[in-house]
C-alpha cells in the first residue's frame, strides 16, 4: 500500500472488517457441514486473539512518544472507536443487558451515567489535558500543582481505582476463555492475561490503540447482529430500536397477569447462587428519584475521572480533535448501549410470553426440563426452574436465570445457529481484553513515568524507562490475574467501585486544576488524600453494617468522597497562599488551544 499507515487506516480496517465477516460466513458453512460447536467456539476466540496479537507485534516501538501516547496522531474517528472499546468492558458486554432484564429502571441509571459522563469529559477536561501535553493523568496533577507528593497521591488514586477495575476484566476474559476453550478457570485466567499482554507489551499505547479499534469492530458486530436477527426472527420489527413499543407494553401486561409473587426464604435456598428471578417491572419506574439520580451522578463523575479513558484523548493530533473525538467515542458507545435494553426486552418476552413458541412460563415443569437449551444452560449453572407451589406448572416466580445468560443464551433460545454463540464469545473476549489493556497500561504508565522517571530516577534514558514500563506491565498483569483467580467479587460490583474511588480522589483536583486558577498544591493534596480516604472509610462502614446517610450505598459512596474532596480542596486552597505566577501563567496557556503544549515547551 502507498502512503503512510495513518492515511491508509480506513482501507486497512475496511479490509479487516470484510475479513472478519468472511470468517463468520466460513464458520456458518462449517457448522452446516458438521463442525462441532466446541470447534467453532475455539476457532472464534483463537482467530480473533491471534489477529490482535499480530497487530500488537506490528505496532512495536522503542520511542517514548509512541509508547505513551501513540505518537499523538490517532485520527478522531479511530480514537473514538478505540475509546469505545477501552470503555465498554466485559461487564457492559456480558452483564448489562442482564442487569436491565432483572432490575429494569433502577439499573438503567447506569446507561444514563455511563454516557452522560462524556459530556463532562468533553467540556471540562479532555481538551485542556490534551493541550497540557502530558503522558499520564498524574503527569497533569504533578505539573499543575507541583511537587512529588501531589504526583504520588494521584498515582495512588489511579492505582486503587484502576486495579479494582482490572481484576474484574481479567476475571471476565478468564470466564470466556474457560467456556470457549473448555479449560479450568484457574488456567483460563492466565490464557486471558497472556492475550492481553500480547497486545500492549511491545507497542504500549500505540499497540493498544490499533488493537482496540480491531476489538471494537468485533464486539459491535457480535452485539448488534444477534439483536437484529432475534428481533426479525420473532417478528418484533426489523429495526428493534424503533419498533419494540408493543413488546415493552406486552411485557407490562404479562407482569400484571402473572403478578410478582414473593418466594419464601426456604424456597430461595434451593436456587443456585448467582441466579435471580424476575421480581421488578420491566419498563415502569421502580426506583426513587434519588436512588436513580445518585447512581447516575456517581457514574458520570467517575467517568470523567477514570485515567484509562482520559489518556485516550492524549493521543489525538490536536485539541480540536480531542473534543470531536469525545463525541465519536460516545456515538460508538451509544450503538451498543441503546441496543442492550432492546436485547433485554426481546430476551424477556421470548421467555415469558406463553403465546410464543419459545415461552416457557405456563408450560409444565417436566416439559421445560426436557428442552435442549434449558438442559445446556442449567448444566452451565445459568438457568434453574423449580416447582415451589407444586402445581406442576412453571410460574414466573419459579424461573431463575444468571445475568450473563441474557447475552449468552438468548441467541440459542431464539433458535439462531451456533455460529452466533461463537461470535458472541469472541465479542465478549474483545470487550474484556480491550478494557483490561487500557487499565493495565494506565497503571504501568503512571508507575513507570510518574513514580520511576519523575520521582525516583529523572535522569533515566528512554530505553531504560521503556524496559521499566514493560516489566511493570507484566507484573501488574500477573498481580491482577492472581487476584482474579481467587474470585472474590462479582464483575459488576468491582466495576462500580472503581468509578467511586476515581471520582473521590481525582474529579475535583482535575477539574479545579483547569477551571480555578486559585487552586494550589496544598488544596489538591488535601482533596486527593481526604477524598479517597473518606470514600474508603464510608465503603468499609457500609459494608460492615453501617447505616450510611443520604441514601448513599456501596454503589454510590463516591458522591460522599467527592463532596469531602471538594470541600477540603477549596478550604485548604483558600487558607494557604495563591499559586505562583508561573503556575498561573501555565493555567492561562492551558485554556488557549493554539500554540505548543505546556510540557512540550519545557
Amino acid at each position: 500500500m502507498k502512503g503512510n499507515f495513518i492515511d491508509n487506516l480506513p482501507k486497512v480496517y475496511g479490509i479487516y472488517t470484510g475479513g472478519f465477516l468472511a470468517f463468520i460466513i466460513i464458520m456458518a458453512i462449517g457448522e452446516q457441514m458438521g463442525m462441532t460447536s466446541k470447534a467453532i467456539g475455539i476457532c472464534f476466540v483463537a482467530f480473533t486473539v491471534a489477529i490482535y496479537a499480530i497487530i500488537g507485534w506490528l505496532s512495536r516501538t522503542a520511542q517514548a512518544d509512541a509508547y505513551y501516547v501513540a505518537g499523538r496522531q490517532v485520527p478522531t474517528v479511530f480514537n473514538g472507536m478505540a475509546t469505545a472499546a477501552d470503555w465498554m468492558s466485559g461487564a457492559s458486554f456480558v452483564a448489562m443487558a442482564g442487569g436491565i432484564y432483572f432490575k429494569g429502571y433502577g439499573y438503567m441509571a447506569l446507561l444514563v451515567g455511563w454516557t452522560g459522563g462524556y459530556v463532562l469529559v468533553a467540556s471540562l477536561l479532555a481538551p485542556y489535558l490534551r493541550k497540557f501535553g502530558c503522558y499520564t493523568v498524574p503527569d497533569f496533577i504533578g505539573t499543575r500543582y507541583g511537587g512529588n507528593l501531589a504526583r504520588l497521591l494521584a498515582v495512588i488514586v489511579l492505582t486503587v481505582a484502576s486495579f479494582t477495575y482490572v481484576t474484574a476484566q481479567i476475571n471476565a476474559t478468564g470466564t470466556i476463555a474457560s467456556v470457549a476453550l473448555d479449560i479450568p478457570f484457574q488456567y483460563a485466567v492466565y490464557v486471558g492475561l497472556v492475550s492481553i499482554l500480547l497486545c500492549s507489551m511491545l507497542g504500549g499505547m500505540r499497540g493498544v490503540t490499533w488493537t482496540q479499534v480491531a476489538q471494537y469492530i468485533v464486539l459491535i458486530i457480535a452485539y448488534l447482529l444477534p439483536v437484529f436477527w432475534i428481533s426479525n426472527k420473532m417478528g418484533a420489527g426489523f429495526f428493534p430500536h424503533f419498533m419494540l413499543a408493543d413488546e415493552v407494553a406486552r411485557i407490562g401486561e404479562l407482569e400484571q397477569q402473572f403478578g410478582f409473587v414473593k418466594n419464601s426464604a426456604a424456597d430461595l435456598a434451593n436456587v443456585p447462587k448467582g441466579l435471580a428471578g424476575i421480581t421488578k417491572a420491566h419498563s415502569a419506574v421502580n426506583a426513587t428519584p434519588w436512588a436513580f439520580i445518585s447512581l447516575a451522578l456517581a457514574m458520570m463523575m467517575g467517568t470523567a475521572s477514570l485515567p484509562h479513558v482520559m489518556m485516550r484523548y492524549f493521543t489525538t493530533p490536536s485539541v480540536k480533535a480531542a473534543r470531536k473525538s469525545v463525541g465519536w467515542s460516545l456515538f460508538f458507545i451509544f450503538l451498543l448501549y441503546s441496543s442492550a435494553p432492546m436485547l433485554a426486552t426481546l430476551s424477556k418476552l421470548s421467555l415469558i410470553d406463553p403465546s410464543l413458541p419459545t415461552g416457557i412460563i405456563g408450560k409444565s415443569i417436566a416439559e421445560v426440563q426436557a428442552i435442549d437449551w434449558y438442559q445446556n444452560w442449567n448444566a452451565a449453572n445459568l438457568m434453574f426452574v423449580s416447582d415451589f407451589n407444586g402445581n406442576g406448572t412453571l410460574e414466573l416466580n419459579e424461573f431463575f436465570m444468571g445475568g450473563k445468560a441474557v447475552v449468552l443464551a438468548t441467541p440459542e433460545i431464539a433458535g439462531l445457529p451456533y455460529v452466533i454463540s461463537g461470535l458472541v464469545a469472541a465479542g465478549g473476549m474483545a470487550a474484556a481484553m480491550s478494557t483490561a489493556d487500557g487499565l493495565i497500561l494506565a497503571i504501568a504508565n503512571a508507575l513507570s513515568h510518574d513514580l520511576y522517571y519523575k520521582i525516583i530516577d529523572p535522569k533515566a534514558e528512554t530505553a531504560k524507562r521503556l524496559v521499566v514500563a514493560r516489566v511493570l506491565l507484566v507484573v501488574i498483569g500477573f498481580a491482577g490475574a492472581t487476584i482474579a483467580a481467587m474470585e472474590i467479587q462479582g464483575i459488576l460490583g468491582s466495576v462500580i467501585w472503581a468509578f467511586d474511588f476515581a471520582m473521590s480522589g481525582l474529579f475535583f483536583p482535575l477539574v479545579l486544576g483547569v477551571w480555578w486558577k486559585r487552586a494550589n498544591r496544598e488544596g489538591a493534596i488535601a482533596g486527593m488524600a481526604l477524598g479517597l480516604g473518606s470514600a474508603i472509610w464510608y465503603l468499609v462502614w457500609v459494608r460492615t453494617g453501617g447505616s450510611g446517610f443520604l441514601g448513599l450505598t456501596q454503589l454510590t459512596f463516591g458522591i460522599f468522597g467527592a463532596a469531602v474532596s471538594f470541600v477540603a480542596m477549596v478550604v485548604v486552597s483558600l487558607m494557604t497562599g495563591a499559586p505562583n505566577a508561573a503556575t498561573q501563567k501555565m493555567v492561562d496557556e492551558v485554556r488557549v488551544p493554539s500554540g505548543r503544549t505546556i510540557l512540550g515547551k519545557q
Partner: protein, 86 residues
C-alpha cells in the same frame, strides 16, 4: 479586557450552557420519572423508559458535537484555533 480574558469568558459561558443541558437530561427529568412514564413518547415507548434507553444517550452525543463546534467558533473568533487539519 484582554483578548485572552474575553475568550475565556465566552468559553465559560458555553460551558455553563452545555452543563445546563446536560443537567436537564441526566438529572432534571428523572426527578419526575414516575409522572413522565405515564405518557406515551417517541416510537410508542413510555417517555421515561425512552429517555433511559435512547433519548438521554442520544442527546448527549448531539450535545458533545454541538459543543465542539461552538468552541471551535469561539477559538477562531479570537485567533486561537490550531493550524492544520485533523
Amino acid at each position: 479586557m484582554s483578548k485572552q480574558a474575553q475568550h475565556w469568558e465566552k468559553t465559560r459561558n458555553l460551558l455553563f450552557i452545555t452543563l445546563a443541558i446536560w443537567f436537564v437530561f441526566s438529572i432534571g427529568i428523572f426527578l419526575f420519572g414516575a409522572e413522565m412514564n405515564e405518557v406515551t413518547g417517541p416510537f410508542g415507548y413510555p417517555w421515561t423508559y425512552w429517555f433511559t434507553c435512547q433519548g438521554s444517550l442520544g442527546i448527549f452525543v448531539i450535545l458533545i458535537f454541538w459543543f465542539a463546534n461552538r468552541q471551535e467558533k469561539i477559538d477562531e473568533e479570537f485567533g486561537f484555533s490550531e493550524r492544520g487539519d485533523d
